[in-house]
């Protein structure tokens, strides 16, 4: 680990734009564009263009990949809070260089989650008006409204947090930031003075605390699993282990998202001395821990689903265990668990590339597991008398394009944002060089 991290390093993504950047932007735009066309097609014809149908006599499932993607993206959005908590609340400065990337990932992923709710609706045009008018009453009973509320809160808190911490950096780096975005910087640093720094620091600490209570305990360990676990109509869902289970999935996919993102920036901008191997090792270890918890809670579900289950629960569990894709997901998780623990004993077996591979595996596993959870839950309702039960489902092209489309949009988000604001905190430079360097004068660009 070298100690010569400079302002120039932090500014590099903003100042250096290569051909590869435009290629990446082009590819991302292409997939996002394909999805946009697919969505317009869906808006025109209705949800009939999806693979969804009515459960019961209809022989289908009414919630599918859109809801799976929604859960997946909210899970990834937890990356920000884990890293922020580690850095701000527990003081693990080791992860400070990736904290802002993780916070930005929260913003990007939450936007995708919100978009999935909209895309999933039959009448997206009504969503604001209908929800707002009934809100004072529905907030008491509708888990979907709890969901929307908590996600909105999470978004607002994270955006506030990000905006506050950016003031410090932008005001100090202003001279080296491109003038074409000056309106953005002006708004971001409105009324800034150095006196506010300690105050902002305290505010940010409290915000981080609020978010860490809100996001894991109330969002992915709360209202999202409650969408399912509170419904006795579907025995595969009606299970109080879902809260913790969802949370382990969220944390695993969040860490995975941060690993992939950090690796991309490290490779693109020669950030080996900034996003060090040490960070990747640490993150992979945490990934292993969360995956362990995930597998442990899967075991809980399986054991109570097979030992002496009521008929309907048995049917749901049998379906889960009979699905090859489920075992593929569990297999991937087991491999990642093994990798992360072995590399603790044999550090030589670790490489960043393998960590990235493990992260991709976990993201694939969590996505598969959650889509199966939703779909199979609806396929095996408690009232299974209908001949068309269990129903069938396979996502249509329109739905599938959404997976690629949302990933592409998050990539675009990072490509654009990293050109406007520093994605690594200035504190990282200052902490490594002492306060003397925080002043201007060392901003020479050495490429």
């Amino acid at each position: 680990m070298s100690s010569d991290v400079s302002r120039a390093d932090i500014l590099r993504p903003i100042q250096r734009t290569t051909k590869a950047y435009y290629v990446a932007l082009g590819v991302a735009s292409l997939f996002a564009g394909i999805w946009a066309i697919a969505w317009i097609y869906q808006l025109y014809h209705g949800l009939i263009v999806t693979g969804l149908s009515d459960w019961g006599t209809g022989g289908g499932v009414t919630w599918g990949m859109y809801i799976g993607l929604f859960i997946w993206w909210v899970g990834i959005a937890h990356g920000g809070i884990i890293l922020s908590a580690a850095v701000r609340l527990i003081g693990l400065t080791r992860y400070q260089p990736v904290a802002r990337l993780a916070e930005l990932l929260t913003i990007g992923a939450l936007m995708m989650a919100g978009l999935m709710i909209i895309v999933h609706l039959g009448r997206p045009d009504r969503v604001v008006w209908s929800v707002v008018l009934a809100f004072p009453r529905t907030i008491h009973t509708s888990p979907l409204i709890w969901d929307v509320t908590v996600i909105t809160m999470y978004f607002v808190l994270t955006a506030t947090y990000l905006a506050l911490t950016l003031r410090y950096d932008v005001s100090r780096l202003r001279d080296d930031l491109p003038d074409r975005f000056s309106p953005v910087y002006t708004v971001l640093t409105l009324g800034y003075s150095e006196e506010e720094d300690p105050v902002v620091q305290r505010m940010v600490w409290w915000l981080a605390l609020a978010i860490i209570i809100l996001a894991p305990l109330l969002l992915h360990g709360g209202v999202i699993p409650w969408l399912f676990q509170l419904l006795p109509s579907m025995p595969g869902w009606y299970d109080s282990v879902q809260g913790p289970q969802f949370l382990t999935i969220a944390l695993s996919s969040a860490i995975s998202g941060v690993i992939i993102l950090s690796y991309s920036f490290r490779v693109r901008y020669d950030w080996g001395h900034l996003l060090t191997d040490d960070i990747f090792r640490g993150l992979t270890m945490w990934l292993g821990l969360f995956v362990l918890l995930f597998l442990w809670l899967q075991l809980q579900q399986i054991i109570s689903g097979v030992f002496a289950p009521p008929i309907a629960v048995a049917a749901a569990t049998d379906a889960m265990l009979g699905e090859p894709l489920y075992w593929a997901a569990i297999g991937l998780a087991v491999l990642v668990l093994a990798f992360s623990f072995i590399t603790v004993v044999r550090p030589a077996w670790f490489s960043k590339e393998r960590a990235v591979l493990a992260s991709v595996a976990i993201l694939a596993a969590t996505f598969t597991e959650k889509v199966l959870f939703i779909v199979e839950g609806m396929m095996y309702p408690g009232f299974g008398l209908y001949r068309a039960v269990p129903g069938s489902y396979f996502p249509s092209v329109v739905e599938l394009s959404t997976l690629a489309g949302t990933i592409a949009m998050v990539a675009m988000f990072f490509l654009v944002v990293s050109k406007v604001i520093p994605v690594v905190e200035l504190h990282v430079v200052e902490d490594k060089h002492g306060q003397a360097r925080s002043d201007r004068g060392d901003g020479e660009v050495n490429q």
Partner: protein, 478 residues
């Protein structure tokens, strides 16, 4: 499981009275203290002071409050409570809009005041409805301040809004059905009747008849499955926009096609699978559905009287008496299901159609009369009269067996009290359905089989997914 006792809302069970008698032996909360009110003497004084500020009789209010507490504790019955103060209330207020004793025998079955209060806390019934049912006394002091929190200057706690109560359209009607499965032959005429009435799209079989086999019964069994119109409907509970709601008047579960955002959470939460989403364009365009030439907004803006005049006998098949879009097939992207035909119940289809539904008409026309729709709270309604008639079976088992070992095979029926095998579907989930079935209940291993008439033969499809898988092409097809 057989629910012989109170499943139909009739007055066979008098548990509230009996429970009250038993409870009187136990020490009651206020017996140990110095006040009749559980909160204590101080609170009682405050209430007295509040009553003193009104133009009405303080002592009457306090006496009624004290008795109201006893009523809640089950020490006295509602009947006693309402009768005792009838004269005094009439004298003091000039009117007594509380239900009189005879109302109790036929209005609410055996639901006690305490149960109503529980529901109020759960938000199941409206404040206004509860006030009306509780009568003046309880609302006045004993509960008024605590439950309603309405002790403001301008909101006289001794005076229940009787005008509003009279205006309230809820007359205690609970639309429901008794379906005699032993009279069903699976002809699907009810399904056709429903399709024709509501113009539902292909495969949206709001009314559905399952033919099933159960290893314990040899014959073909049927299950007629409309929406169960649950009084504790999970679909309404989870709706994020209150589009799915339990209508106060008639207690039917409806979807407002104007506010529904199409999230399909109702469909996910419903344990019965009665919901059918409008995935694409409805097969029947809105122009082909009979409506009066007034926009929904204008209808809702009218006062109740004007709206009634506009809609009565108009044949409007899209809006109910409140002017809300809840009848016929849904709009594209919103949820639909069996409605219990609100445009009929509200008089849009003329006086004769009130109290009928399309599926029942079709079933009657086919000579089957397996479906009996009506007010479950009215002992004179068709479903309740039918239940009554089905109970009157020869008490064959009144002769005791001399030698049970030998004779049990001879016995044709059970005990005289349980002639009728009646049940509500999945009642154990706590949904409080309003459809009562007579006949066999499908066991957990029952399996649906091909029925005597195929859905394809009546112009719809059974497994809707096959049709929906056509995707956008399904929009153009029909």
């Amino acid at each position: 499981m057989s629910t012989e006792d109170s499943s139909c809302g009739c007055d066979t069970c008098r548990c509230s009275t009996e429970a009250g008698d038993e409870a009187s032996t136990a020490p009651l909360p206020w017996e140990s203290g110095d006040s009749f009110h559980p909160i204590g003497k101080g609170w009682e004084k405050e209430m007295r002071a509040m009553l003193d500020d009104t133009e009405y009789d303080t002592d009457l209010g306090m006496e009624m409050a004290e008795d109201a507490m006893r009523l809640v504790a089950g020490e006295i019955t509602e009947e006693e409570f309402h009768t005792e103060y009838h004269d005094a209330v009439t004298e003091e207020f000039g009117t007594d809009d509380r239900p009189l004793p005879n109302a109790f025998s036929n209005r609410d079955g055996d639901v006690s005041l305490a149960e109503h209060l529980e529901k109020l806390v759960d938000g199941d019934i409206s404040r206004r409805e509860t006030m009306k049912k509780m009568g003046l006394g309880a609302a006045a002091v004993g509960l008024g301040s605590g439950v309603f929190g309405g002790s403001g200057e301008d909101e006289d706690p001794t005076f229940v809004d009787t005008e509003a109560a009279q205006e309230d359209e809820n007359d205690g009607t609970q639309w429901g059905m008794v379906i005699d499965l032993e009279r069903c032959d699976g002809c699907l005429q009810c399904v056709i009747g429903c399709m024709e009435e509501n113009n539902t799209s292909t495969g949206a079989n709001w009314m559905y008849v399952l033919t099933y086999e159960d290893e314990r019964t040899e014959e073909e069994n049927f299950l007629v499955r409309p929406c169960q119109h649950c009084s504790n409907a999970p679909c309404a509970k989870v709706c994020p926009v209150e589009a799915r709601h339990i209508r106060e008047e008639g207690g039917m579960v409806l979807t407002d096609y104007e506010t529904c955002i199409g999230c399909r959470y109702c469909q996910v939460a419903c344990p019965y699978g009665v919901n059918y989403f409008q995935w694409g364009e409805p097969d029947t365009p809105l122009e082909d559905i009979e409506r009066v030439d007034v926009s929904t907004d204008d209808l809702q803006a009218m006062d109740a009287e004007e709206r009634r005049e506009t809609l009565e006998g108009s044949g409007d098949h899209f809006r109910d008496g409140r002017g809300r879009e809840v009848d016929s097939r849904p709009r594209k992207g919103t949820m639909g299901k069996c409605t219990f035909c609100p445009s009929r119940q509200d008089g849009n289809m003329g006086e004769d159609a009130v109290g009928t539904v399309a599926c029942m008409d079709a079933c009657d026309a086919a000579g089957m009369s397996a479906i009996h729709f009506g007010d479950m709270n009215d002992p004179e309604s068709r479903p309740n009269r039918y239940l009554e008639r089905r109970r009157e079976v020869e008490p064959r088992a009144d002769e005791k067996f001399e030698d049970p070992e030998e004779e049990w095979e001879e016995a044709v029926t059970g005990s005289p009290e349980s002639q009728l095998s009646a049940y509500k579907l999945l009642e154990e989930i706590g949904t409080e359905p309003n459809v009562v079935y007579l006949g066999n209940e499908p066991g957990p291993e029952a399996e649906q089989v091909e029925g005597p008439v195929a859905y394809e033969d009546i112009g719809t499809v059974d497994r809707r997914k096959d049709h929906l898988d056509l995707g956008a092409a399904a929009n153009e097809e029909d």
